[in-house]
Subunit: 230 residues, 2 copies
């Protein structure tokens, strides 16, 4: 593959910068708010259930999570939740939306090495404005030829991106922390995909089995991709 790759796309959340850690922290705090009604583990299950129910109309991102938290609080307390609990939930969301961006180890150095030799693209999902904020704050914007904020990361979304980039699958490499969103749909298009593990993965993104595919690259960290491209 090595000399075929021309365009490298990067997932953003939990690949370039920390994200899931903050979400899980907010979720823990939310579940603690409900502790008078049900154990934290059950509250987390209820929240996940609400999020999955609403995913088709809310899509990904913090605002949808906030709304699902409020709906969950109302349901599990059978309408007995106080408005103070709702206010605190909104505050948790506002904190998430304003949290400074924390780059992951080796990211800036790796992009610097790749820059000039490859066309670099960011391909991320989530709230439009929130992702734009994080891109600006990250200081990484200048590395990228194009930034795509996607409503989803299915095969058809990647096919559209490749068409837009005018890039053949054999010239495209996607790097990300989610086997489900960053790897499998890309391999299905016969493009290349590298998995960069992050410490925690959202339940919805979990996918245990590593794919058996000649275009799949397993990486220990983002900087490892440099060795594969040499």
């Amino acid at each position: 593959m090595r000399n075929k790759i021309k365009t490298i796309a990067f997932d953003a959340d939990d690949t370039l910068w920390v994200n899931e850690t903050y979400f899980q922290e907010a979720e823990r705090q939310f579940c603690a708010l409900l502790s008078a009604y049900l154990p934290a583990e059950a509250a987390a299950r209820e929240l996940f259930h609400t999020e999955m129910k609403n995913l088709a109309i809310y899509g990904y991102g913090i605002k949808g999570v906030m709304l699902s938290m409020i709906e969950t609080a109302s349901r599990v307390t059978e309408g007995k939740a106080s408005m103070q609990l709702i206010n605190k939930t909104i505050e948790l969301g506002h904190e998430l939306l304003q949290r400074p961006v924390e780059l992951l180890h080796g990211v800036a150095e790796t992009l610097e090495q790749l820059q000039g030799n490859y066309r670099l693209v960011m391909a991320t999902k989530g709230d439009l404005l929130d992702q734009e904020r994080k891109i600006k704050q990250s200081g990484l914007q200048g590395f990228f030829h194009h930034i795509e904020i996607m409503s989803n990361k299915k095969v058809e979304n990647y096919a559209r991106l490749l068409k837009y980039l005018n890039c053949a699958p054999e010239n495209f490499l996607m790097l990300g922390n989610s086997i489900k969103s960053d790897v499998l749909p890309v391999l299905e298009l016969e493009a290349f995909a590298g998995h960069v593990p992050f410490t925690t993965t959202w339940l919805h993104e979990q996918h245990d089995a590593k794919p058996e595919h000649p275009n799949f690259i397993e990486l220990a960290s983002i900087a490892d991709i440099l060795q594969h491209l040499d």
Copy 2:
């Protein structure tokens, strides 16, 4: 101008299809939910105040409005709002997010006439997933060379769009219902802009004075643009 225009961009909400009417209906219903606490007019003012306060972190779109409604309900009732009121507010949002798309008069016919002679683009703001849903449902997707969902419609956002489209300002015409978002920033770039009035305009988008600019075109309806381009 007539023979210079090569690319025509269309705003979507209230230019191609009905939007503000539904938002105002939802807002009226929300204010009615608060009628035990304050008059509808005061509730609407409070909601607008909350929306403006949150605009920088939420951006445009239904999910942000839903969250601002919940926050407003909590504040104006001094924490006495019932969870039933919150549930009803969430329902109002879910209805908005699932409302069928209603094309405005003359839209499909006008796009059909322009297609082939001009590169047509859709340039809209709002929730990513919700706008994608409306585009799909509208049946208009095939007319457009490119669809841009923008986090905002300021001069810098249009400058980025023109750069991406590789289009000089003198070859670009924007059509939309908001003087503030679809006309003024476009004229500032010395591109062309046409105003297609809609029956109602969101307070945040209101702008009384029509611009005095040689590149400004006032239209009574979207089909009128055909005469200006002949």
